[in-house]
Amino acid sequence: MAATTTTTITTLPDALGHFGPYGGRYVPEILVAPLDQLEIAYDQARADDGFRDELENLSRRFAGRPTPLYHAKRLSRHLGGAEIYLKREDLLHTGAHKINNCLGQGLLVERMGKKRVIAETGAGQHGVATAAACALFGFECIVYMGEEDMRRQSPNVFRMRLMGAEVIGVDTGSRTLKDAISEAMRDWVAHFETTHYLLGSALGPHPYPRMVRDFNSVIGREARRQFLDLTGGLPDVLMACVGGGSNSIGLFHPFLEDERVKMVGIEAGGRGHRLGEHAARFSGGSPGVLHGTYSYLLQDEDGQIALTHSVSAGLDYATVGPEHSWLHDQGRVEYVSCSDEDALEAVKLLSRLEGVIPALESAHAVAEAIRRAPDAKGQSFLINLSGRGDKDIGIFRENMPGLG
């Protein structure tokens, strides 16, 4: 019985992109055919050893894979409970896990013969990774970014432009990730013949949730092998932050059949529990459709999408990748949230004790580990440190008086 359940969990989505009731495809009709073409191109590439070799080669020589698994001994000792290990995706080229997906989709774009790439970005990490991949492959690159995010993640705006991308500010709605995705979709509806939409998270219409998950699963495959090599066993608990959910599904997916490995996804608890003050979709939302997929969604009673808040731009989004909704309902992954304040404290502690400055997004996962570790003596926690904090220096400075 248990075997059947795990097989089902790891073989999703179905042919129409469903994870249980979630996922699927809800798009303007004109995008159905381009999405079908993308799905076919992706399936062909996946079955092709040449594609896999090329991707592996680029991941190694361009992006810097494999990333280390690091035992954070001083942090563990300080907390006095669980042993904490960090999967160092922050050490990848461009500063976060996002490059895993961008290299995969970039190779796919090359195969499809398209020359123009559009992308959305929240924290700017996906935008930077897309800009780097486009420079590498020689594609025209346009990145849509909410104006609020451009302000709070300005170093990344500059980096994208330096690598030749055009960054277009979006001034509608909350001027954050949600609005950037809407604008990218509007561009794609008009230019699908020449343009690939390089969606950066495991969400949106089928086949994106599956494809983005697959390209990021290298995180979990590597981490699983490294953890076995290092300790001779598997970790007790995996932890990763969940915005759209690409770094977390990338870590979780290769462990789904390891039934004794617990998993915790950490959402942005923001500054309060009222709608508009956070981005905790599982505790504050209900299923609905946004940006082409059916998943847990922060919405008001009329089905209008709610505004969200998080100190971290990459987690500040109203819906979540559909596979997470499925894993949530199955009880396979536990989803919790962590406040802005706790994330900022986690940044300080990890920086001081380990010499590692995490991105604000990843700091949410570190914060949950800090909360749980003291009561978890004898256990091991594996945290996906999905990105580095260089881009957040401005926010740290605003929130950490006394450091200059």
Binding site: R25, E29, I30, A33, V189, G288, G292, G303, Q304
Partner: protein
């Protein structure tokens, strides 16, 4: 017989083409909408697409996006749109299609939506981001309450899918004339005519063409081929620019009349059909 089917039969008898006018309900306020619809009808609109505003309208260009924002700020919810419809029905029998995105309707519930919309006097619905693969429950409820589901087809829709979407539609089929979001363009795309020809081959339903249409010359270009033209952004731009003007309704009526004039079929084109 549904009001939509009667409208197309009347148009056929009169050897005329239909004007489908889109208006965002509640823009600039819910109190305006009935008067504006009556003005559109007086100007010659044959069918109304009544937009329920949604916070994240990915298929719409800036004009309809802003219309939706104004309507939401004015407190327009789906129950308020039903009030508007009920008021309209005391004064007009013009066919009305509810036009919106999936999430507000899903939240309201498909069964409740179809039953309340039919009771309020709606004739059909079009949900831009509800693809046919996911539409089973919606279609069952629409049928149960005698509402016409209208689906969009586009230049990228292959013939076998055109057939499925036409078969699932009632009243008419909505043809997206070009790639891109809603909004005014200079000329009618060449894609439009090819799509009309392909769709004619798979269905007998009337064909309405929309996206990018705003001028009488667009109407003249389509009149020989399409059964109706859909205009939205041009009307919403009038509201945007003249929302406080005392003659807002007259302006909407005037634009509808000019567009409708463009849809009259020239005698020579009639022979060529």
């Amino acid at each position: 017989m549904s009001r939509i089917i009667s409208a197309f039969e009347r148009l056929r008898r009169e050897n005329n083409r239909g004007l489908v006018a889109y208006i965002t309900a509640g823009d600039p306020s819910p109190g305006h909408t009935v008067e504006l619809i009556l003005a559109l009808e007086q100007g010659g609109a044959d069918i109304i697409e009544l937009g329920v505003p949604f916070s994240d309208p990915i298929a719409d260009g800036p004009v309809i996006q802003k219309a939706g924002e104004r309507a939401l700020r004015a407190g327009t919810t789906f129950p308020k749109v039903l009030d508007i419809l009920r008021n309209l029905r005391t004064r007009s029998e013009i066919p009305v299609i509810i036009f919106t995105y999936l999430n507000p309707i899903m939240r309201y519930g498909f069964a409740r939506f179809a039953s309340d919309a039919a009771a309020a006097g709606a004739d059909g619905a079009l949900l831009t981001d509800l693809n046919i693969e996911e539409a089973g429950l919606y279609l069952a409820e629409m049928q149960k309450h005698g509402l016409d589901p209208v689906f969009l087809v586009s230049q990228t829709t292959p013939d076998d899918r055109l057939r499925v979407l036409s078969r699932s539609s009632a009243g008419f089929v909505y043809l997206v004339s070009r790639a891109g979001v809603t909004g005014e363009r200079d000329r009618v795309s060449d894609q439009a005519r090819r799509l009309i020809e392909r769709t004619r081959r798979v269905t007998d339903l009337p064909l309405a063409v929309g996206f990018g249409l705003s001028k009488p010359e667009h109407m003249r270009a389509l009149a020989p081929y399409a059964d109706a033209a859909v205009v939205g952004s041009a009307f919403m731009r009038v509201i945007e620019e003249h929302q406080d003007a005392p003659d807002l309704a007259d302006r909407m009526c005037g634009l509808a009349a000019r567009l409708k004039e463009g849809l009259r079929i020239p005698v020579e084109a009639e022979d060529g059909r």
